[in-house]
C-alpha cells in the first residue's frame, strides 16, 4: 500500500482549514448536524453567497464535506429556482494527521481485539469509569466538547453528535460502546453533573445519551 498518497490527502484536508473564514464555514456546517445550503452559510456568517460557495466547494475538494442535491421549499423565486439546491454536510471520512507518524488507531484495534478475546470487557469498563471520574470537569458542555462528543440538546436529553471512538466502535461495538458509557458515567459522577448516562444507540451518532435528572429549580 502506498501510504504517502493518503497522508498527503490528509495534510491537504487539514491545510484547507487554515483559512479562518473557511474554518468558520466548516464549523457552521458541522454544528448544524444536517445538510445546509450556500444561502444558509452566507447568512449565518454574514458573507457574500459567492464567498460561502467558494469555501464550501474548497472543503468538498479537500474531502471534508460532501455534496447532495435537494429541492428547497422556501427557495426565493428567480433564475434557477426550479433546480435542486446544492447542499453540504460533513463527510463520513475521517482525517488523521500525525507528524511524526503515529498509528494509534491501529494500536487501538489491536488492543481492542486482545481485550475482546480475553473477555476483559469488565476491566475495560472499570478503567474507563475511573478515568472519567479522575478527569471530571465542572462545565459539562465544555468537557463534552473537549472530548469531541459535539453535544446538543434534544427534549430532556443531551445527545452526542460525534463518537470520538467511531472507527473502533464500528469494529467492536459492545466493547467500545460499553467503554464509552463507562467513561461518560465516570465523567458525570466525578463532577456531579445532573445527568445519567445511558445507552441509546442511534445510527450516525454516539451510542450514549445523557438524560437530565429531575432538576431542583
Amino acid at each position: 500500500m502506498d501510504g504517502m498518497g493518503e497522508e498527503g490527502d490528509s495534510i491537504a484536508a487539514v491545510g484547507a482549514l487554515g483559512d479562518p473564514t473557511r474554518r468558520k464555514v466548516y464549523d457552521l456546517v458541522v454544528a448544524s448536524g444536517r445538510s445546509v445550503s450556500r444561502d444558509e452559510v452566507a447568512q449565518g456568517l454574514g458573507v457574500a453567497r459567492t464567498l460561502a460557495a467558494f469555501h464550501l466547494d474548497k472543503l468538498v475538494e479537500a474531502g471534508l464535506l460532501e455534496v447532495g442535491y435537494a429541492r428547497l421549499a422556501n427557495r426565493p423565486p428567480g433564475p434557477g429556482a426550479g433546480r435542486p439546491a446544492k447542499l453540504y454536510r460533513r463527510s463520513e471520512s475521517q482525517v488523521a494527521v500525525s507528524l511524526p507518524p503515529r498509528s494509534y488507531v491501529e494500536v487501538g484495534s489491536l488492543l481492542a481485539e486482545a481485550v475482546e478475546r480475553s473477555g476483559a470487557d469488565l476491566t475495560l469498563q472499570r478503567v474507563a469509569h475511573e478515568r472519567g471520574r479522575a478527569a471530571a470537569g465542572e462545565d459539562m458542555w465544555e468537557v463534552l466538547r473537549e472530548w469531541g462528543y459535539e453535544p446538543f440538546e434534544r427534549d430532556a436529553e443531551i445527545c452526542l453528535r460525534n463518537c470520538p471512538f467511531h472507527a473502533l466502535a464500528q469494529e467492536f461495538p459492545p466493547l467500545i460502546c460499553g467503554m464509552n458509557l463507562a467513561l461518560l458515567s465516570g465523567l458525570a459522577e466525578g463532577a456531579g453533573w445532573p445527568v445519567t448516562a445511558r445507552m441509546s444507540p442511534e445510527k450516525g451518532q454516539c451510542c450514549v445519551t445523557l438524560s437530565k435528572e429531575e432538576e431542583e429549580r
Binding site: 470487557d121 469488565l122 461495538p173 459492545p174 460502546c177 445511558r198 445507552m199 444507540p201 451510542c207
Partner: protein, 145 residues
C-alpha cells in the same frame, strides 16, 4: 440468500441464580424486539418455545448456551444487535458469560431463502470458522463475505 448466525457462550453462574437475573429477565423483551425487527426471519427456541436457554448444544457441557437466528441480510442483523436496546444487553455480556475453552463463539453463514438451519449445521459452521478462518462458508461481522 438469507443470513444465519450462531452464537454460544459459557455461563459464569447458574442460569437461575441472582447473577443471571438481569439476563433472564431481559430475554422476553429482547427476543420480542428481535422478532419484530426489520429483516428478522427465524430464531431457535427450545421445547418451551420462548427462547433457547433450555438447549445445551454440547453434550457434557451443561454451561454452554446457544442462540441461532436467520435474517434477510447482514445489515438487518447488524442493525438489530448494535443499533437497538440489544446493545445495552450485549454490553453486559461478560457479567454473564465467558468464552473459556471456546475458540470461537460467533459464526455467520449464508443460507437459501426458506432454509432453517439445524443446531448441528450451526456447530459445523463454527468448526469450519475455527479450522479455516473466515471464508464464504463461515465468517464473522469483522470479515463479512
Amino acid at each position: 440468500m438469507n443470513l444465519a448466525q450462531l452464537n454460544i457462550g459459557r455461563l459464569r453462574f447458574p442460569l437461575d441464580g441472582p447473577e443471571l437475573k438481569d439476563f433472564v429477565d431481559g430475554l422476553p423483551e429482547i427476543n420480542a424486539l428481535g422478532d419484530s425487527s426489520p429483516g428478522f426471519v427465524w430464531r431457535l427456541t427450545d421445547e418451551g418455545g420462548a427462547d433457547a436457554t433450555g438447549l445445551r448444544p454440547y453434550e457434557g457441557e451443561d454451561d454452554i448456551l446457544i442462540n441461532m437466528s436467520v435474517w434477510e441480510s447482514l445489515e438487518s442483523l447488524r442493525d438489530f444487535i448494535y443499533h437497538t436496546k440489544h446493545l445495552e444487553y450485549m454490553r453486559r455480556r461478560r457479567e454473564w458469560f465467558d468464552h473459556s475453552g471456546l475458540e470461537a463463539y460467533l459464526v455467520l453463514w449464508w443460507v437459501p431463502e426458506g432454509h432453517i438451519p439445524t443446531v448441528a449445521e450451526g456447530k459445523e459452521r463454527l468448526e469450519h470458522l475455527i479450522k479455516h478462518g473466515p471464508s464464504p462458508e463461515a465468517f464473522t461481522f469483522r470479515d463479512p463475505r
